[in-house]
């Protein structure tokens, strides 16, 4: 089976006075349907890796291919369309727009993609229902708990049926109970075939829910554990 995510010899170097390699010549291939957890200590390059896969950032070297799209060949507009249609991103701090209701927040990616109004609305309401926050559809983020906000953020990430769901520390701002519930949602989504890449520092959650675990240390993959048949190409 073709990889849905393929990173080849990817490096990301930041240069703000002194050079710092957040990712150092890594290569990864993830297959459709996997739930990959990227783990590692602070500064190991987890979020940078997720940003590269999500088209939020560009590598200094190497190629990133996601769902058949070579991200290096896409313009900024092309990357935005890629993020809109091929991936859904869930952030640690939810990143909902405070002046929009839960439903309007969920609808944004669909509306940006030019989706038909009623159809998108039905889909958004279904997602909110599925994630257990349908009753809060007209509430503003400030009135929601952390767990509720994250469910709304997950609904937003899924509104355009992306083949890949990315999550950056999705439980990092939640208490244990809410964190467990959110991880359960991810597990459930994965069971229904959704490919997921999540960054987490919580090994317990990763072990319980991920089908594959990638451990980053100093910008390189130190451990690749899981049942992937594609496996790790290289850990430097």
């Amino acid at each position: 089976m073709d990889a849905i995510v393929q990173l080849t010899d990817v490096s990301k170097v930041y240069n703000d006075g002194r050079q710092f390699a957040a990712l150092d010549d890594i290569s990864i291939a993830l297959r459709p349907g996997e739930a990959a957890a990227i783990m590692g200590p602070s500064g190991s390059g987890k979020s940078t890796l997720l940003n590269l896969i999500g088209g939020l950032d560009r590598p200094t070297r190497g190629t990133v291919t996601v769902d058949g799209a070579n991200l290096g060949r896409l313009s900024e507009g092309g990357l935005a369309r890629f993020r809109r249609q091929r991936v859904g991103i869930v952030f640690q701090f939810f990143n909902l727009l405070n002046n929009l209701t839960a439903l309007d927040n969920v609808l944004i990616p669909a509306q940006l993609a030019g989706a038909h109004g009623n159809q998108a609305r039905r889909r958004a309401e279904e997602l909110l229902e599925r994630l257990g926050v349908a009753a809060l559809r007209n509430s503003y983020p400030a009135r929601l708990s952390g767990g509720e906000r994250q469910r709304v953020a997950i609904a937003r990430a899924l509104i355009n049926n992306p083949p890949l769901l990315l999550a950056d520390e999705p439980t990092g701002a939640l208490d244990t109970h809410n964190g467990d519930e959110v991880m359960a949602i991810f597990a459930d989504l994965n069971r229904s075939g959704q490919t997921i890449v999540l960054v987490t520092h919580d090994e317990r959650l990763a072990r319980a829910n991920a089908t594959r675990v990638l451990q980053l240390v100093d910008g390189a993959i130190a451990v690749d554990r899981g049942d992937s048949t594609l496996g790790v190409v290289q850990a430097k």
Binding site: S47, R84, N95, L97, N98, L100, I108, L112
Partner: protein
């Protein structure tokens, strides 16, 4: 260096865009303010400076060479009340071939040089005449004829003057002489057709009022034989005429200055409050390390004041320099030598006022930050921005339009106060443009109404020597001047005009003076033969006369005499009473507006016309047409109906309008730019979020532009009517100042649907152009940097 200054300078370095915007806005507002102020204060300076520099004549008189000797004229210099004099200068009619066969008579004076104790001339170019075949021409003749230094001017065949080479161009204060040669060059053999006259220029001991000048003129007249004095003019009339153009500019200059200051205040207010909001965390940190509330306020005031000083420092000299062409144009329009105009004390006060506004706005806006506790400032400055405009955002979300448009529309109301201030800046910009467009169009109509060049292209003077540059019948000198004996009757002249190829229609007319009970001075009455309604006098109210005994008059006549339309009045012409009924108020700026127009049949006796206003067919070469009609030997002088300073004055006003409108538009653009910078920086997180979930950079640009386009639309709805109202008010005031006249309604109705659509588009365009650069910055902004710094 104190901590306050150090912190202010550090913030200035950190907020380069904000600093640049403040400096730019203050540059523009000081430019507009000082430009307007210099023009205001110096509005009468071109005349006053030139008059003082040239030792201008308080009184200028012309004498008939056939009635008085040069020695007797010179003796008038010792008349009581005369403190100094120059002349007498012999003046001879110089028949100049203006090209295309057109001959014009110009007064040529014999003068030793440009200097003297009275009425010194300023050499604009070249040098003074050194031989009798060298001529120095006036700037007005140079402008009118296109003659330049080195050109040779041939007189007409029946003129005794030899061909002369132009060696200089000179300007005198209100001088009506067209050219000067050495006195030896003036022919002594004058004839009835080419009479010699003398001119004297007097400085008077007391010349503050027309009465004081008239008293001396009367004394001079009384000392000479009957008929010796041909004409006299005083400097007060010249000054009035020279000041009029700048005087009419005062109302809109004041309006523009006020607008510029208001717009700048709004923008500075936005800038400072935005800086306070953005710097809330900084305020907390400053206070936690020991800054007092006053020092916090001082830091923000310093951030505004330093670039404001830079802006003013550049703006003031640029404004003074920029005002010089306007002042020079004023001087040129009235044939005055150019002087450098600057008003240091008012300028300094204006700069102090501008900086005072900056400091006051900065202090008021930063007081809240200064009063905030250190802990709450750090806390609120570190927290993500809270959502704003919930209700509008929800309404916008329900609109079935592309999401970037609805998100942008909602954003327009997220910060109502800031949006309102920005919108006001755009309102000022669009109101200014609306006003300027309207006034320019109205002034174009007014100009057409004054010159009537659409209706009358050629004026034929019969029997007489028309005033230099005269364009209409009533512009003839009060004293008709040396006349020739015409061999042509009115019937013959009429036949001549009718037979001239290119003639469409013409009206014969004559002017007399009538006396009216209660009116101190004689009132000119122009009487027309046949249909004269086509001559182009715009009707303010009532109608044009169409029967015997009916008359029309300008506004000033009604105002001065207290008459109204429909009133009957008696006037006396050479002792004969005439009953008139006033049927119309017309737009007529000639003289002081004290005149009447009626039909020739209204006047008693068989009075012959002496002037013919002619409309020629489209496509006719007017110069050739006039040349064909002109016949000096039969007392016929044809003049084309061209401007004589009117165009320059209108160009001056419209140029000033355009310049100030441009400045205010730039201020509005800067205001929008500033607001969008503040908004996009405050909304960096929201923009990053929508980009993360798929908004393209182009969609971000659309979203940001929409947020200001909404303000532009509202500004158009408010600003265009405001500009139109201002236009109506200022045009009315200008009419009163310039000629004490009301303005015909048709001159107000200059806003057609296309213009209104264009103005609305301009409002949206100001908003969008001002927002374009920060919108593109927002479109290109990074996502990860913003979202990962939380």
């Amino acid at each position: 260096m104190s901590a306050v200054i150090r912190k202010s300078l550090a913030d200035l370095r950190r907020r380069k865009v904000q600093t640049a915007v403040i400096a730019f806005v203050l540059f523009l507002s000081s430019l507009a303010g000082i430009l307007a102020l210099t023009l205001l204060v110096e509005s009468d300076a071109p005349f006053d400076h030139a008059f003082a520099q040239a030792q201008g004549a308080h009184l200028t008189m012309s004498f008939a060479g056939s009635a008085v000797t040069q020695a007797k004229v010179r003796a008038t210099g010792s008349t009581a009340g005369v403190s100094a004099y120059a002349g007498p200068w012999a003046v001879f009619p110089w028949a100049v071939d203006m090209g295309g066969g057109r001959i014009e008579l110009h007064p040529l004076a014999g003068r030793d040089g440009p200097g003297g104790s009275v009425d010194r001339l300023t050499m604009i170019a070249g040098r003074w005449s050194q031989k009798t075949n060298e001529v120095v021409i006036s700037r007005q003749l140079a402008d009118d004829s296109g003659l330049n230094i080195g050109d040779t001017v041939a007189a007409s065949s029946d003129n005794p003057l030899p061909p002369m080479t132009v060696v200089g161009i000179a300007a005198g204060v209100g001088d009506d002489l067209a050219a000067w040669i050495l006195p030896a060059g003036i022919p002594t053999a004058a004839t009835d057709k080419l009479p010699l006259m003398y001119q004297m220029a007097y400085r008077l001991t007391h010349a503050a009022t027309v009465n004081e000048v008239t008293t001396v003129a009367n004394a001079i007249t009384a000392s000479l034989p009957q008929g010796a004095v041909m004409d006299s003019s005083n400097y007060l009339d010249l000054k009035l005429n020279a000041d009029r153009t700048t005087a009419v500019m005062i109302p809109f200059l004041l309006a523009f200055s006020g607008f510029a200051m208001l717009a700048s205040t709004l923008i500075i207010g936005n800038l400072v409050s935005g800086a306070v909001i953005a710097g809330t965390r900084d305020i907390g940190v400053m206070k936690s390390v020991g800054f007092t509330p006053a020092q916090v306020v001082a830091v923000f005031a310093g951030q505004m004041l330093i670039p404001a000083l830079v802006g003013c420092f550049v703006g003031v000299p640029v404004a003074i320099l920029a005002s010089q062409p306007f002042l020079a144009d004023t001087a040129h329009a009235f044939n005055l030598p150019q002087t450098f105009g600057v008003a240091p004390i008012p300028d300094a006060l204006a700069v102090a006022a501008i900086l005072g506004v900056v400091v006051a706005t900065a202090v008021l806006a930063s007081l809240r930050g200064g009063r905030m506790s250190a802990a709450s400032a750090i806390a609120s400055g570190s927290a993500p921005t809270s959502g704003r405009g919930y209700r509008v955002a929800r309404l916008a979300a329900a609109i079935h339009l592309p999401r970037p448009l609805t998100l942008g529309a909602a954003e327009a109301f997220a910060r109502p106060v800031r949006s309102a201030m920005t919108m006001l800046a755009i309102v000022i910009g669009v109101a200014t443009i609306s006003f300027s467009l309207g006034l320019t169009r109205s002034l174009s109509d007014v100009k057409a109404g004054i010159t009537r060049d659409q209706q009358v292209q050629v004026t034929l003077y019969h029997q007489g020597w028309p005033a230099k540059g005269a364009t209409t019948a009533t512009a003839q000198p009060a004293s008709p001047g040396p006349t020739t004996t015409s061999e042509l009757s009115d019937q013959q002249v009429s036949t001549l005009i009718a037979a001239q190829p290119g003639t469409t229609r013409f009206t014969a007319e004559r002017q007399d003076d009538v006396t009216i009970a209660g009116v101190a001075h004689p009132v000119p009455i122009t009487a027309y033969r046949g249909d004269s309604s086509w001559l182009g006098y715009a009707i303010i109210s009532g109608r044009w006369f169409n029967g015997v005994g009916e008359a029309v008059a300008p506004t000033a006549f009604f105002t001065t005499t207290g008459h109204h339309i429909g009133d009957h009045l008696s006037v006396s012409l050479n002792g004969q009473n005439i009953r008139l009924v006033l049927v119309g108020e017309i737009f007529d700026t000639q003289g002081d507006g004290m005149l009447l127009r009626t039909s020739l049949a209204t006047l008693p006796g068989n009075r012959q016309p002496d002037l013919y206003e002619i409309a020629v067919k489209p496509g006719t070469d007017i110069d050739r047409y006039a040349a064909a009609l002109a016949d000096p030997t039969h007392g016929l002088d044809a003049r084309t109906n061209r401007e004589n300073g009117t165009d320059t004055a209108f160009l001056l006003i419209t140029g000033t309008l355009a310049g100030l409108a441009l400045i205010l538009t730039l201020i509005a653009l800067a205001g929008v730019f500033n607001t969008v910078i503040l908004n996009t920086r405050e909304k960096a997180r929201e923009i990053a979020i929508v980009k993360a979930v798929g908004m393209t950079p182009a969609q971000v640009v659309v979203m940001v532009l929409t947020s200001v386009a909404v303000l532009g639309v509202i500004a158009a709805v408010v600003g265009i009517p405001a500009g139109m109202l201002l236009h109506r008010y200022i045009l009315t005031v200008m009419g009163q100042i310039a000629s004490a006249t009301n303005v015909p309604n048709q001159y107000f109705n200059v806003y057609d649907p296309i213009a209104l659509i264009g103005l609305a588009a301009a409002a949206v365009l100001i908003a969008m152009v001002g927002a374009m650069i920060p919108a593109q910055w927002a479109g290109r902004s990074g996502v990860t940097e913003v979202l990962q710094t939380e």
